[in-house]
Each structure stands twice: as C-alpha cells, then as structure tokens.
Symmetry: C2
Subunit: 119 residues, 2 copies
DNA sequence: ATTAAACTGAACCATATGGTTCAGTATTAC
DNA sequence: GTAATACTGAACCATATGGTTCAGTTTAAT
C-alpha cells in the first residue's frame, strides 16, 4: 500500500536518492523488465535488485506483477506530481526571499545616490 | 564544497527525504535563523540540528556564516533546478510510455470494431 | 573576573540501508 | 522425472542516519 501522508515525501525522495534506483526508473521508462534483467543491467544479485524494486514499489514509482516464475516491473502510477509541486513551491519561496533582498539592495543604492549628491 | 557529479542527486534527494530538513528549508524561506532557533522550532538538541544543517549545506540548499558566537543559516544558491529537471524528464518519459499504451489500446479497439462488423 | 550563551566535536546508541550468501520454492524446459 | 530458471526469505555484514549526552571553546553580558 502506497502512503499519502507526510511520510510520503520521505519515502519517495529517499527512493530517488539512489543512483541505481533512478537508473531502474529510466530503464523501465524505455521498457518493462524482469528482476533478472534489471539485476543484470546493474550488475547486482537478484536479491539486491529485488530490494531496490521493493523500495520503488513502496514509493509507488513502480508496480510489479508475477506471472509464472518471472516478476515483471513497470512504471507505477506515481508521476511525482506532489514531489514536483513541493520543489516548485520551494523554488517560489526561494525566489520571493531573494526578491526581498533585491529590494533592500535597490533601496541602499537609492539612498547612496541621494547621499552622494551635494545637499 | 558542493558536488555536481552523479552523486549530486544522491545528496540532494537524500537531504529532501527528511521531514525536519524540509521544515528547516521552509522556515529559512521565511527568515534566516540561527542553529538555536531552528533547534527550538523542531524540539531537538543543538547538536542534532547542527547535523541536519550540515546535510542541507552539503546539498547546497543552505549556507551558513558564523559571526560572533552565533551561526546564521540562510537559503543557499541551489534552487533545485537540476532536481526539478530530473523529475520533469521522468514525468515526460512516463507520459510517453503511457501514450504508447494508449495507442495500443486504441489499435485494439479499432480492430475489435472492425471484427464486430460483418465482413 | 565570572558567568551564561551558542556552538562544536567526540563518543555512543538504535535503527536503516545497500549489499552479500545460502537455502529454499515454484515454474518451465528437456 | 530431472534439471535449470527465476525468484524469495533469512541471516549476515559494513556503513550511514538520526538522534542523544558530555565535555569542551569562544564570545558576550554583568
């Protein structure tokens, strides 16, 4: 079960914080793959890759289905919408903060100019 | 020193994967703060908060300056541009992948319709 | 000159992470 | 029926993470 509370961000950002897992996402974007195939691509044991896939699955970034003896992995429903939104909000706050600084700097320049002029 | 190689994503996504650290970023977006102030907000020891700030600093999300005995923390230069770009690229691959599926579904529908019609 | 405040570093702790090996189980191929 | 394939789970390992306490150091206030 994918979570949607505050922990949600913890889970998905953590999932993205590993190069192998980001690589898995890129591979799955091109084509669905089995655990074996992913393990081979990233030169890792099956067990190791299984763990990575589980992490991605927890984050809702990947879904898997086992038919016969092979488990097929595909991109999940999470389009990282909330994560993109969080980052965008941060960027806006960042911008707002620095616009404030710009205003201060402008104000200082204005005053300096006024002082430089003989009263 | 902030890193800009492949590890860069590891570092910054990991930095974002903790609720306290995301909270610190939001607080700093409103106003610069000392370690003490941040520690108080998040009900944590100074030492604990110092560690979080260090993680954010490593990721370039925060810069600090110590004057006198207080270290002031402010938002850093990283505007998460590359991170936002990575996520956007992922979203586009995701979309492309599902458009493909849509095409397949449409094709199936088309054929079904054709078959349903008496030849 | 003392004392208090603000940080810092080392040491410690419990738990998580990223990997492995080894020993299964279930499917498929021969 | 036997053997190979594909995965799975348990156990283990080293290192990282998120937190603490304790013992400093430096700076500011009295």
């Amino acid at each position: 079960m994918v979570q949607f509370n505050a922990q949600h961000f913890d889970t998905s950002f953590a999932a993205l914080s590993d190069a192998t897992r980001r690589g898995v996402l890129e591979q799955l974007a091109r084509q669905d793959a089995s655990i074996s195939e992913l393990a081979e691509t990233f030169e890792m044991t099956l067990t190791g890759m299984k763990k990575h896939v589980s992490v991605l699955e927890q984050a809702g970034l990947v879904v898997t289905e086992k038919v016969g003896r092979v488990r097929t992995c595909r991109l999940g429903v999470s389009r990282l919408e909330q994560e993109a939104a969080w980052i965008e909000r941060y960027r806006q706050m960042w911008a707002a903060r620095f616009n404030e600084l710009d205003k201060v700097v402008e104000e200082l320049k204005r005053r300096e100019k006024a002082n430089g002029r003989p009263s």
